[in-house]
């Protein structure tokens, strides 16, 4: 393998991993705070992508908008969607016994995933099933190495979001409360943290992040009503591998899987999609609580 090829494969992997980490962050945040595995996470990603597509498509002939701006418009809306979703569907579960909560969360979020997928599917009748935005900025070329501008912008945004999230978690009251709840729910409640509100906020942020990732998908590749569940599964791998609730773990997990897919894609593409699941199982067997889990 030549050096430039190696560099290119690594760059591809890291850029890919960054977008993985973004969606997985949301999932991790939600699990950390409310103890709920959100099987509908990928659906929010899909709907977020569809929203960007629909806005772009509707505006296209009137007013050409950079789809990245549309992503920024859509994200706050999905924060609200997340709030409502949490209030209506997740809040009632948080008081249940652990194994009951796990089971009912599976039911509720899986059911919600089915509803969202099927409604999106139904709404796509009469228009195209696969949705993708036609937007391209020429790549940066350094020697033989290509840096896809779209992906660089995304990666930059991911970094900014991660730093913002870090600052939010470290230096704001709500952020500290989120961490407190993640670490010890009852303890946080005892010292006067409004856990109900924190849950809702965490869910809102998580959903907004999923929608942003969906926007990136629709620019870079495509979304269709049936992509939700498989993507959720891949993000769950990242989250669990890193350790549920660990943000560093998620970032690392995303990049590891991105790199793994990138390297295998170069040599043995047939195995590239196996990386996430193989790593998940292997990591858990060695460290039952993930890389950074406590």
């Amino acid at each position: 393998m030549e050096f430039t090829t190696l560099v290119q494969v690594i760059i591809n992997g890291v850029l890919l991993g960054g977008v993985y980490a973004l969606a997985a962050f949301g999932l991790s945040l939600i699990f950390g705070v409310s103890g709920v595995l959100n099987l509908a996470h990928g659906e929010f990603l899909m709907v977020g992508g569809m929203a960007v597509f629909l806005l772009f498509d509707a505006l296209q002939n009137v007013w050409y908008v950079n789809p990245f701006i549309l992503v920024a418009v859509v994200a706050p809306l999905f924060f609200l969607v997340g709030l409502v979703f949490e209030k209506a569907l997740i809040q009632p579960l948080t008081q249940r016994k652990e194994h009951v909560r796990l089971a009912s969360a599976v039911l509720v979020t899986l059911g919600a995933a089915l509803v969202i997928e099927d409604v999106a599917d139904f709404a796509s009748r009469g228009s195209q099933y696969e949705k993708s935005v036609d937007f391209f900025i020429p790549s940066l070329v350094i020697g033989e190495i290509y840096l896809e501008t779209n992906k660089l912008v995304m990666f930059g945004l991911v970094l900014i979001l991660i730093v913002a999230l870090f600052i939010f978690l470290r230096f704001t009251y709500v952020g500290l409360a989120v961490q407190a709840v993640t670490q010890n729910r009852r303890g946080a409640l005892l010292v006067g943290v409004n856990t109900t509100r924190i849950n809702a906020i965490a869910f809102g942020i998580g959903t907004a992040l999923a929608a942003v990732a969906g926007g990136f998908e629709v620019i870079n590749s495509m979304v269709a009503p049936n992509i939700g569940l498989p993507l959720t599964l891949k993000y769950l791998c990242i989250v669990v591998m890193g350790g549920l609730g660990s943000f560093l773990g998620v970032a690392l997990g995303g990049v590891i899987i991105g790199l793994g897919e990138s390297f295998l894609g170069f040599f043995y593409p047939a195995w590239s999609q196996t990386v996430a699941y193989l790593l998940l199982v292997t990591v858990l067997l060695i460290r039952p609580k993930g890389l950074f889990g406590k």
Partner: protein, 415 residues
């Protein structure tokens, strides 16, 4: 444990069980009432009943969806003329379609084909989409001895064993891109090929066939790989392709999600071959890539022309609410319609055995003699797609070959 309610059970057991039994029996009866148990006795035929399933939901719906309407347009067209004349019973009978949604799933298709045969008493079947679903459906055809005009199943797995109840209009999957390779060979200027397919029965065979034909035409395959079906990131595959320095890149991926990601990333990563062939380039792909699709080669199941068949086909698509190139598989449906019409006229009756024989003997030409639809010994047909090239956001037919070579322009790495 049951001991807890033992007393209750002893006291009320008998009554309750009986009452529950009655409830159950009436529920079952209600259920039976909903499922029509038997068709009316078929003393004298008054119509030609054709059964099929279409994937109106599930993963194939994006390709198949408008064909329910197309089928209806065809049946309406025939019925407007009174129907099809069957000389052996000396009657002109109208067509009635019975169509179910197989949800893109083989077990569901199996269930519905059984129902079509036993309950709806169809005279023959039109096959579903893909080999896996067709194979499940075929069970019902063999069991009930009804011929199946297979529509979209041409993978070798379906034709290993002889089976007299099925035949398709399509040529084997491996020959799918014969005309595209012919065109590239004739135009010249390209030598090396990189091929990629989505890991599935049909796409792999189509790609393999493409590779074999390329080699036979004296050109070279420098990269040939299969990508997992869920692949969304192609950057490494593209990088490996780039290093093999191909003149032509070919991707075979149905339904379109993979094509879109692949093309977008190929553009971003500087894969600039002389020509790009996208096996299937329906609307979502063209729209997602915009100007970059200019001069991309693809294949359509019809070609531009002005024969009576062309006019009929275009009019049917228009009535069904789409332009032919938007759902080019409509061309396969059209050939199936023509095969059915011809078989019925030849058979002159609805006797399954006679319709079956006529289906196997089908031999007629379409589009002013441009192609001859025939069934070979295994049950394959002769239809395979014609080359096209995207120009101004719409595929332009590159057929007949001599004219096609003139219109055809290399993409020359211009995204």
């Amino acid at each position: 444990m049951s001991t807890r309610n033992q007393n209750d059970t002893h006291q009320f057991g008998e009554i309750i069980t009986r009452r529950k039994f009655i409830t159950l029996a009436s529920a079952a009866a209600a259920g039976m009432a909903v499922i029509p148990l038997g068709g009316s006795a078929m003393a004298a035929k008054t119509e030609i009943v054709i059964g099929a399933t279409l994937s109106q939901s599930g993963r194939f719906q994006g390709i198949i969806r408008p064909f329910g309407k197309l089928l209806q347009v065809w049946a309406d067209g025939i019925n407007a003329k009174g129907g099809i004349y069957l000389h052996k019973i000396n009657k002109t009978l109208p067509i009635r379609l019975v169509i179910y949604d197989d949800q893109s799933s083989p077990p569901t298709a199996l269930k519905f084909y059984e129902r079509l045969a036993a309950v709806d008493k169809v005279d023959f079947f039109m096959g579903p989409f893909t080999s896996f679903i067709t194979n499940a459906a075929l069970q019902a055809a063999v069991k009930h001895k009804r011929p199946m005009f297979m529509v979209e199943a041409n993978d070798s797995a379906m034709f290993e064993k002889p089976n007299r109840w099925r035949a398709t209009g399509l040529s084997p999957a491996k020959t799918e891109y014969t005309r595209v390779v012919q065109l590239l060979a004739k135009k010249g200027g390209v030598k090396t090929f990189a091929l990629l397919s989505r890991d599935s029965l049909h796409e792999n065979q189509a790609m393999e066939g493409f590779g074999e034909m390329v080699k036979k035409a004296g050109m070279e395959v420098v990269y040939q790989k299969i990508a997992p079906k869920d692949t969304r990131d192609f950057s490494s595959i593209i990088l490996a392709m780039k290093q093999s320095k191909p003149d032509v890149v070919f991707i075979e991926w149905i339904p379109p999600p993979g094509n879109i990601g692949f093309l977008k990333q190929a553009r971003g990563l500087g894969l600039n071959p002389k020509d790009v062939v996208v096996g299937h380039a329906p609307v979502p792909v063209i729209k997602a890539l915009g100007r970059s699709m200019e001069n991309v080669l693809s294949a359509l199941y019809f070609f531009e022309g002005d024969s009576p068949h062309h006019r009929e086909f275009f009019a049917m698509c228009k009535k069904a609410g789409f332009e032919p190139w938007q759902y080019s598989e409509a061309g396969i449906r059209y050939v199936t319609f023509k095969r059915i019409e011809e078989a019925l006229v030849t058979a002159g009756s609805l006797e399954p055995e006679e319709v079956r024989r006529a289906m196997w003997q089908s031999n007629f030409s379409l589009y002013n003699g441009d192609i001859r639809i025939k069934t070979d010994k295994k049950g394959y047909g002769t239809l395979h797609p014609w080359p096209s090239q995207i120009k101004n956001g719409k595929p332009v037919s590159l057929w007949p070959l001599s004219k096609g070579v003139e219109i055809f322009e290399h993409k020359n790495g211009q995204w």
